[in-house]
Symmetry: D2
């Protein structure tokens, strides 16, 4: 099942997309207003989120499917977001081009330890359809389309689409500037929904694509498959959660393989669409921050 967080006039509502349509779960249970509420109830009762939802569908109210594309759509969870890097082969080459010290990227491949880093607070994460940011002091800015793993109490409960906005010029100048290239105003977006882990057959075999348009013209359009990851989702999650204080709900983005080439940089007003097979398409425009 796919879960959408709606928010109208500030009031949150949880909706679920099943084979039969889109349903308002908050209408079935007043207390079920956010995906976090569902995660919490499922955790305490040791059930899967889809299992809990199944029992509620009878009382849920059908919604127009387009609600899930509209203004009311919010980020599916409001949580700390981490990300992994150097997890796809293609990304390695791109990074070599950008950095004067490429060896460290190659070393990450060859090491047992993945690269994971703090990516965003909820306040720095924008809703679907909202503008993501490019730093005014950066010259080379790209979106990084990524499969997002959604964790409840440290366990994988779902998947989402993530946009890990990055300043390649700042990161490329010095690897010690990576946090500035990654963590800034409006640096991340996730959505449009969370697909339950139970309903994803294999997270390591999902088509992923990205298009970037400017003034109606497509400037970038490419696709890959999460099967090209050189780390497993579980391995990345283990690295994030080990020795860490992981909040009840958290998101880990798993790295990118779709990278516009060096001649491209984002500009204000650009439109980014990131799609993941079986999950959905995350759309954002671009604003300078």
């Amino acid at each position: 099942m796919r879960y959408y967080q709606l928010r109208e006039d500030g009031t949150p509502r949880l909706a679920v997309q099943t084979a039969d349509g889109l349903f308002d779960l908050t209408a079935a249970k007043d207390r079920l207003q956010t995906l976090e509420d569902l995660f919490c109830a499922a955790d305490i009762t040791d059930r899967s989120i889809d299992d809990v939802t199944d029992d509620l569908l009878e009382d849920a109210v059908p919604l127009d499917a387009e609600v899930a594309d509209g203004d009311a759509l919010a980020a599916p969870v409001s949580s700390e977001i981490w990300a992994a890097g150097v997890t796809y082969r293609i990304s390695e080459e791109a990074r070599q081009a950008e950095s004067d010290t490429p060896d460290m990227y190659i070393d990450v491949y060859e090491s047992d330890r993945p690269e994971v880093f703090f990516k965003a607070t909820p306040e720095r994460t924008v809703d679907p359809e909202e503008p993501v940011g490019i730093r005014a002091d950066s010259e080379w800015d790209v979106p990084e389309p990524e499969l997002g793993v959604v964790l409840s109490d440290g366990d994988i409960v779902g998947y989402t689409v993530g946009n890990d906005m990055s300043s390649r010029s700042i990161e490329g100048e010095n690897p010690l500037y990576l946090p500035q290239a990654k963590v800034y105003d409006k640096c991340c977006s996730i959505g449009p929904c969370v697909r339950s882990a139970d309903s994803i057959e294999d997270p390591h075999d999902l088509e992923m694509w990205m298009t970037i348009s400017r003034d109606g013209e497509v400037l970038y359009d490419d696709a890959t498959n999460t099967g090209k990851m050189v780390r497993s989702v579980e391995e990345l999650v283990d690295c994030y959660t080990a020795h860490n204080a992981v909040p009840d709900v958290a998101v880990l983005l798993t790295g990118t393989s779709l990278v516009p080439d060096e001649s491209f940089t984002l500009e204000e007003g650009d439109e980014i669409e990131i799609g993941l097979e079986g999950i959905g398409t995350l759309s954002n425009t671009v604003v300078e921050v």
Copy 2:
């Protein structure tokens, strides 16, 4: 003035140390329970925190000075913490010893852009007297004593003492692992108080010292002065706040210059004391996480 956050049975109280003693400000105003409350009132009324406090002292209740050392002492603010690196000369040499790619550290000195990074969430920050963490998967762990700048609405309103716990073995293995070396369970502590910016004559001329003891024996004892910083506090704050979504209250640690040599690593039970002239002494024990 120096502000202490007390917390007894979960109830917060704000105390202030003046030349005349320690006073309970919450006794003067019920609504003034945290330093954040004081920052907020001062911000909205465009006054300094000391100025607001001055008017409240008449109704504040004297407290035993030892309260500010006891169990009731909490981190002075509960906020996002960032840190800066490579800001003292001595630190550079230490880093060269630890890393196979030392050039990047030298580059930071020569660059206009400082190194700032996301250090800790409130949940990863421990109170004074509480144990800070060393990662079980790390072999070389050190505290980093630092001057902490306290920001309200992006402006410098005070200073505190910070312990930026670091795994030098993980950071040294690959600079891309820096976030794992820095952001983990119990990775930070600040305190014991916040000294108002107005009452610090020059933050760039403060004695700073650290002692580390094990089983009653002092293993490390050294001192420096914040005057040895090669960046100004304002410059580091500018770097943190630019293009960023800084919360109402935030802390920026300004880098370290006191580094135990390579033969030393922290162990469970060690006692760390970090002192800053005119502010106070932050004490923590060590626990493996």
Copy 3:
């Protein structure tokens, strides 16, 4: 000055009406989002709310005056509401007509102790322009237009307009049913603004009027003056706050003198307008609950 609480897409903003127009105070200070924030800052700094506001007007952003009438208008404070009864002569006669035991109402006049009662939680209080409720199990329902006193830390800081919805049939059946006649779903509304106490010359000399319309026809239209109160505002506040646990912000409605006669009862869809000289007009429709 008159303070309006706006709420767009769930985000609160505080606006103030001065002689020069309507201004967005949140634009001047991010942290000043609600009237409660202003009360808090004024309380901690021992200043009046108008005094704090005066200093902020330079940075406040002008708003269209009609904003204060629109969808974005919220109840000016979100707090516990109490009300007083039997405070106007006219109300006494009306009550005698309704009750089989009228002596108790007369006794309230002759007693030192006023009648004050718990009226509404924030969850039972509706915003201006939103529908107030009439109980489905009640036959005789009326609005009670009242001057509302706004308290911060127990002190009078402003005035608002209140609608103390009442089931006269339930109250009339037995005085022990008073709480059921008074405290129920959507039983109260306050607004449209709070006028600062400093800018009200005499709360005991304010014209108060009410009109009730159905299908465009005015069914009730009458006026009175708060000067007809037989208790002072201070006396009623003292009665409410004595021996009580009054929250930081609270509202006390001071009783009614405008009562539709026995032949009138509210119906779904009716429109109620309650005006108070120098404060504003509170409008609500009616819905059965």
Copy 4:
């Protein structure tokens, strides 16, 4: 099962008493910190609270039984509390003695509509072992021992013991003063636990007793049975929840039948113990407010 809310250093923990002892449920599930959390998970998954708990007992940690009597004991829920009056025959006689207008009490018996009223906010409710209040402006003060019904989403999920503190002198002076006699600082206490509705065979057949001691001497000691109620628990709950905006969790006290005679009034320092068969004993001292 019986649920205890513990709170140590401000951190809440939920414990359950089964036939096998007292167990820490928060140790089994981090997110299960309050009884409200359990109610919420049970509501969303349409299970009983005992059923959810059963599955968690395997991972729960045994606690010393005395924990449930100690300082860490908090009110079992933090919610709006309503109360019912005139629900026991004995109470009627007592009320006739106190009031000049006793007919209204008799009328309540003969009417379909029970008397229910707003009793307390969480801020006016004290924990077990904490002092309840008597108003300094009252001459005749008594505790009212009552069976408390605990509601989740309007449904009965458990029972607790309640102390509905009352000023009989203020109530007796005029029935319109009832709210002042009932709603004031520290006017209520509930606890020590909530017994699940599923494990109470018949709430209308529970022994209830109260003792009041002063300086070690028992001044009042009497017992009754909830079977002497003239209304059913369901009837009272229906009256409270109809046409009302009932919060997710709420408590309804069901009236008293144990009343010290007219010669007795509470004094500061008195100790009150209220017991209910199968639930527990709620102890409070007395303080003037």
